[in-house]
Subunit: 233 residues, 2 copies
Amino acid sequence: MTIKALFFDVFGTLVDFRTGVAREAESILGAAGHKLDWGAFADAWRTEYQPALEDVRAGRRPFCKLDVLHRENLDRILPRFGVSGLAQDAARNLNLAWHRLPAWPDVARGLARLKRRFLLAPVSNGNISLMVDLARHNDFPWDAILGAEIAGDYKRKPRVYLAACEAFDLPPAECMMVAAHTDDLMTAAKCGLCTAHVGRPNEHGPGIGETAPKAPVDVAAADLEDLAAKLGA
Amino acid sequence: MTIKALFFDVFGTLVDFRTGVAREAESILGAAGHKLDWGAFADAWRTEYQPALEDVRAGRRPFCKLDVLHRENLDRILPRFGVSGLAQDAARNLNLAWHRLPAWPDVARGLARLKRRFLLAPVSNGNISLMVDLARHNDFPWDAILGAEIAGDYKRKPRVYLAACEAFDLPPAECMMVAAHTDDLMTAAKCGLCTAHVGRPNEHGPGIGETAPKAPVDVAAADLEDLAAKLGA
C-alpha cells in the first residue's frame, strides 16, 4: 500500500450524532415546553436518513443537499413525537443540530497526526456547509471538502468514492476510506480504494455499534489515534 | 455589510506565479540543458491561459481541469522557446510548477487573522488538487476548496461565484470576493457579492500589476494584513 490520501466517513465515524442530536433536541424542543425520549427522537430522525438518500440514489428525485433531506425528515417525525406548531426559527435551528455534532474524543488528535503524512478529506453524505461547520466546531484539519455534494450523488454510489479520488488526481489504490461501517468500506473496496475500519462501539447508543469490521479490511483500528499509529503517522 | 465568508482569487492575488513559474522552469529546463529568458517563458505560458479558458466558457469544449489546460499550453509554447523532445516526466513535473507557487509574503499571516472571523475559501480557476497543494505549500487555512472545479466552469462566468455562495449556504451579499484584478471583482459584484481589492504591483514583473482598483470596490487594501485590519479581524 502506498497511501497518499485518507477519506473519512463522518456521521458515526468522526462525530457522535446520537448524543449530539439528542442534546440539541432537548435544548431546543425542551425550551418550547416539550418533553420526550431524546435518544428515541435522535434514532427516529436518523432512521429516516437511508430511505431519503435512496430516493436520490435511485433517481426518483434529483440530488439535493443533505440539509434539505434532514429538514424533510424532521418535519416527518415531529408529529410522531407529539410536536406540532414548532416555530420556523426553532425548526431551522434544530435542523442545524447536525452542523454542531461533537467529535468522538480521539478524533482531533488523531487527525492532527494523520495530517502530517496524508491528505485528508471527508467523503461524507453531508453537504459542504455542514462539513465546514463540523470542522470549525471540532478542529478537523481538512485539505478539502469532498463527498456527496461534489459528486452529485450519495454513498454508497461508487461515483462518490471515485469523484473524491479524481479531485485529488489519485488512483483509487492510493486512497484509503476510513469508516466505522463495514458496508461503506466494502463499496469503497469495490471501487479500488484501500480500507480502514475504526471501532465505534457506542454509535447507536451504549454498546450498539461496530467494534470490529464484519468483513476483511486493510487496517482495523480501535480509534483514530490507533489508526495513526498503524499507518506510521 | 455583514460578511460571513471571504472568497479568494489565487493566481496573482495570493501567489506570485511569474516568479514561481520562472524559477521552476529554470530548475527543470535548465537541468535539461536549456537556457532561455525564464520570465518571458512564464509570461508566455500565462498568456495562453485566458484563450484556453475561453474555449470552455464559450462551450467549445467541455469543462476540464486547469492542469489539463496548463499542460496543453505548455506543449504549445515549448517549441517557441526552442525546447523539443522534453522527457514526459520533466514535462509533467514542470506542469506541476503551478502546484508549488510561492505566496506573497503577507498572505499566510493575513489569512490566519481573517480565519478568526470569516469562512475562507479559494474561488480560483485552479483545480482542487492544485489548490490543495498550494495550501500545503504555503499554509493557507481554507475551510473548503471552492471555485471552477466545483462549478464546472471558469471565471469570469457568474456560475463560479454563485456556486461558491451556494456551497456555503450564504446569500451573495454575505460573501466578499478578494482579488488583485478589478475585472474579477466587477463580475463578482454583478452577482451580488461584496468586493475587496488587494494591491499586487509586481504581479506581472516589477511595477507591472494593479496597485489600486480601476473601479469602485467595497474595500481597497494594500495587502492581506491591511485587509484584515480594515475588516476588523
